[in-house]
Symmetry: C2
Subunit: 211 residues, 2 copies
Amino acid sequence: MSNEQIKRRGLLLVLSSPSGAGKSTLSRLLLEKDENISMSVSMTTREPRPGEIDGVHYNFVSQNEFDDLVNKDGFLEYATVFENSYGTPAAPVEAALRDGKDVLFDIDWQGTQQLNQRVGSDLVRVFILPPSKDELLDRLKARAQDSDEVVAKRMAKANAEISHWAEYDYVIINDNLATAEAELFTILNAERMKRARQSGLSDFVNDLTKD
Amino acid sequence: MSNEQIKRRGLLLVLSSPSGAGKSTLSRLLLEKDENISMSVSMTTREPRPGEIDGVHYNFVSQNEFDDLVNKDGFLEYATVFENSYGTPAAPVEAALRDGKDVLFDIDWQGTQQLNQRVGSDLVRVFILPPSKDELLDRLKARAQDSDEVVAKRMAKANAEISHWAEYDYVIINDNLATAEAELFTILNAERMKRARQSGLSDFVNDLTKD
């Protein structure tokens, strides 16, 4: 018997970061390279954009359906942004965890706080930081014609997100993408090995020590 | 800036296991391959055996010196075995942690419980299990001429140690040495990246977000 054969409970991996720290790229690499983790699909009341597929990019629902699930306490986290509601339904995530599957969340500090209150020890929170202030500024100046005002606004938003770094379990400084990716896998694989998640260990130890 | 350049607090890595689960081999590999971790040197009142060097294998002291340190609360853990006392002095370990160095402990469940009460969040506890009961029996039958009684005694001792597996943060089933070694490094490297140990992050984030 080896650890990989031991039944375990899945985990929720949260990645948060200011805009431009490489979170989307790291999420994509994780999903491409690891078969046991999948992206959480949010529910939203906004209209689908061209190319967006119901059930893949989002579950598109009416405001009534959304409010119904809120009233049933059926969301792990939800928020309203510009009159549209977004949320993570609890049921599919809880089914995945029971089945030993991991779920990736690409959410901000507010969603992370809500998740933390709801799921506690299933959560692994990773915050991704840019390597320096200059690098952050470069990445926020997406286009040469951006006004100073626009860049200053983005910087203020980035700083507001960064101010919550200490609410996370791990912090990755994304100086080099390959290093950051390796660090993310190291964290994910170590967390999978936590004794408390390896629900099959109890039976294994019983077999090991019985007369 | 990258995570490796961030000042961090060291950690205490505890390896425990029943006899014959591969703990000594894994400890040796860790010490050989990782420059930032060193073995904790115990203090003992027993006589040095041929080849044992004071300050390397043990710090050899008199019973009076040992009792003195006990009275000053100067041990992280200590125990008396067959009239000899053994213990881990706190001062060198605490200096290592402040200096960002990790310390390896090869101790049983009783020492681990004492350490846990004393150092708490600096501690990373890993328990190593054999892959099966047959394998455990094979390893305990060190010599063909061992009597059934001797083997049964060793098995009882192994089972007593195994019964404390759930007091550890991680459990590694040592089915294949290379896999177990990789798992141990994954755990060590992830724990090093924990936000709470990366004491230099606070200054780094200040630089990142200042005007």
